[in-house]
Symmetry: C3
Subunit: 319 residues, 3 copies
């Protein structure tokens, strides 16, 4: 594996899941393969789980890790190749990235969408500039349109959850939920992309009209605009808010009836509940749903360590 930007960088999801679970069973299994290698974690946006889990994963492999809050510790970066830099951005990615490539062996980068330029966001300008100019492997810690470490942890968690079940092909429903501000489409795009490539689920997406995701990620997923109908017999319900893709970055609906409650789950197949966190309690999901034993959110987030560890390990072994 050269970079880890999307599921397209993964040859074999099953093998990667199996590697992650091996690390979960034995975190220090490969405690020397990263020795004398250094991982840089660059945050252009805030992070809690990603920051911690990726650092822990790399340390479990024996790597040195340096975390940098680019804007706060340093300054604002420029990504436009033709910029005349007489504004607020202080350093161009073209100048900074090759140096980071010399300082580090692997770079993780988090950068949210701007929401001001759909083409730039969906062209993944920021992370692609890092790939283009740093000359070392890049791991997405969430980019403008995708969040592959999250989706990988989601697949791991579903797989684990199915180990002792009789379910053969689970019904997985991704449902839109209300929020107080416009959020990126990343987690939803990425989840759709991974579930589609994984091919082991019946995949349904539920959202109000206007919230259609980019078809390059949803492919042949069944789309319904009625949450109740979608949740029928669901085995897994992934709850997530996102803003409109077509009417880019806008909030079109604040219908509180899309909040997932215990009642919404009545006709599911005793569904497990998933969310990438952070979650707005009693806005996206009700407290009792999050607190129920069917909630997988702690497991998902805890599995982030093993997901990152499997990915970094794969990258180290190819480099």
């Amino acid at each position: 594996m050269k970079n880890f930007i999307s599921v397209n960088d993964v040859d074999n999801i099953d093998e990667l899941v199996s590697n992650a679970l091996a690390y979960k069973a034995n975190p220090l299994l490969h405690k020397h393969i990263g020795k004398n290698k250094r991982l840089g974690l660059l945050f252009l946006n805030p992070s809690l789980r990603t920051r911690l889990s990726t650092q822990i994963a790399a340390e479990n492999l024996g790597m040195n890790v340096i975390v940098l809050n680019v804007d706060k510790d340093g300054w604002k970066m420029e990504f436009d190749d033709e910029a005349i830099m007489n504004g607020t951005s202080v350093e161009h990615i073209k100048d900074a990235a090759p140096i980071l490539g010399n300082y580090f062996d692997v770079l993780g980068v988090r950068s949210f969408p701007s929401f001001t330029n759909k083409e730039e966001d969906y062209g993944e300008l920021v992370i692609n500039q890092f790939i283009k100019y740093s000359n070392i492997p890049i791991i997405s810690l969430e980019s403008a349109t995708l969040h592959p470490l999250q989706s990988f942890t989601d697949i791991i968690t579903i797989e684990e959850s199915l180990i002792h079940s009789r379910i053969v092909k689970p019904k997985v429903v991704l449902t839109w939920a209300p929020h107080i501000k416009p959020l990126p489409q990343c987690v939803s795009n990425s989840f759709a992309q991974w579930i589609n490539k994984w091919q082991k689920a019946e995949f349904v997406i539920a959202h109000p009209k206007g919230y259609e995701l980019d078809k390059q990620f949803t492919l042949n997923a069944e789309i319904v605009n009625n949450q109740k109908e979608a949740l029928q017999n669901a085995d897994f319900v992934y709850v997530k808010n996102w803003s409109s893709y077509n009417d880019y970055g806008r909030m079109l609906c604040d219908d509180a009836s899309w909040m997932l409650t215990e009642q919404s789950l009545q006709n599911t197949n005793n569904a497990k509940i998933m969310h990438c966190l952070p979650v707005r309690r009693n806005v996206e999901l009700s407290g009792p749903v999050l607190d129920s034993s069917n909630s997988l959110t702690t497991t998902q987030a805890s599995n982030r360590v093993w997901a990152a560890q499997a990915v970094i390990s794969k990258i180290l072994q190819n480099s």
Copy 2:
């Protein structure tokens, strides 16, 4: 030791002091007992000494340490169990803490009082929510009402200072001092609580009327409203500002004559001067007092490493 939140978590102060002094003599005495264990240091408020000394202490025991400025690196936490999260807080402690509990072996948490809700502050809502939901040992790095690592270092410093002295039962005076803004009562509450349990001092508290501390911490300490009278024959003078407990969080007095100067110390028993730092020079204490050889402030702060190391070591050995 399961958690370290107050002196009530300490079975034997003398033994803990003795352990700390053993680490001071030999910092790497137990350099392997924390191997493959990870300490998370979560700051909901700023810190300099606590941040550095606790990290160094843990590294001396062989632990991995990750420091997180929760608000700045991540986002605002919600602690109210019934919150409808449609405001500024982004993640609930109920959702975050169990994950931190999986990422780390021990957590240190700093969180100042809100000053908006006395009951919540004195109920120690924040740190108690971490204890309740994280499932791992919690070390207070200063909470709403107490600062036990500071008080422990204060006791260590007094004990050290007495080793070559003929003083049998020192007179220890905690005196209020002026400040430019309202400060928590933590350091004073905690110092009182530790001195009382330690039982080796004659303990006097001096403050202007209206600055009475919570009796659960001061117990039978002698309270006087005249600093000059209190300082008579003092062996140790602990200087500290705090805001009112009764008229919660308010500043009632800005009488500059409470600033500790060389003159204030004339009738003491050549008293040693203590302060937890940071200190406002020439507001709380005069420069010459801080610069005199009787000032123990550098020693107190330096002993923070050994205090933290003794506490973390105790927790690691029980877990």
Copy 3:
């Protein structure tokens, strides 16, 4: 070496360059000489390259490193010995530095000029207070008037670049360039000071009238106010903006013709281009110049690791 504040702390530049290149060839050459030693990196101002390269350098020598953003993680420091601290600064350097001296074995400090008090800036108040009160070696990570780690990396880079050339005594031109805001004179002062002590170049400084640097650093360098004339036959062109020293901290000129372009370089001796970064593309230098194979900026910045490593190593071996 006791401290590293300016070139005056260096006995032998050639030896230090040679040590740095030895580390470049073998980063882990002395991976144990810093074992159980701890470096504190204190940033009173933002940093990207300095922060990363110095940490990596210290880790290559086996040191533990703790990075502290003093203002953001902690609070504002006071440096005036006579201050009555009833304003915004929270802690005096006199109180903080001796403690840092006990926590760490070596301290790196970054602190930009205030631009409000030339005497204080050129007296290097901040870094001198750290030296005075911390009792341990201090490394400048850029101070009010100098940036010695940058200048040392510049010398290393020039030396490396000359290895396979026939140039005996290169013509090195430091040229002022436009910028959008007033910058410190540090990099220019320091470069002049190092080039002068190094004695292996013909040294010319080009700037518009009014931008004369402090003569204590430029010494007998040739000063010209015509960039074209200065660049004639140049082997190395160091591009840098600075604000006025005489009319302290002011911008006197925004003449865009001082921006370095391919055309400006026509009459040079196929000059190599240098800049300390971050650089404002198409304001200080044109994009094509920065992107040309003659640009040494990536090499300069990458060599920062080996520069820092040689300096820290020297300090560790003397202490």
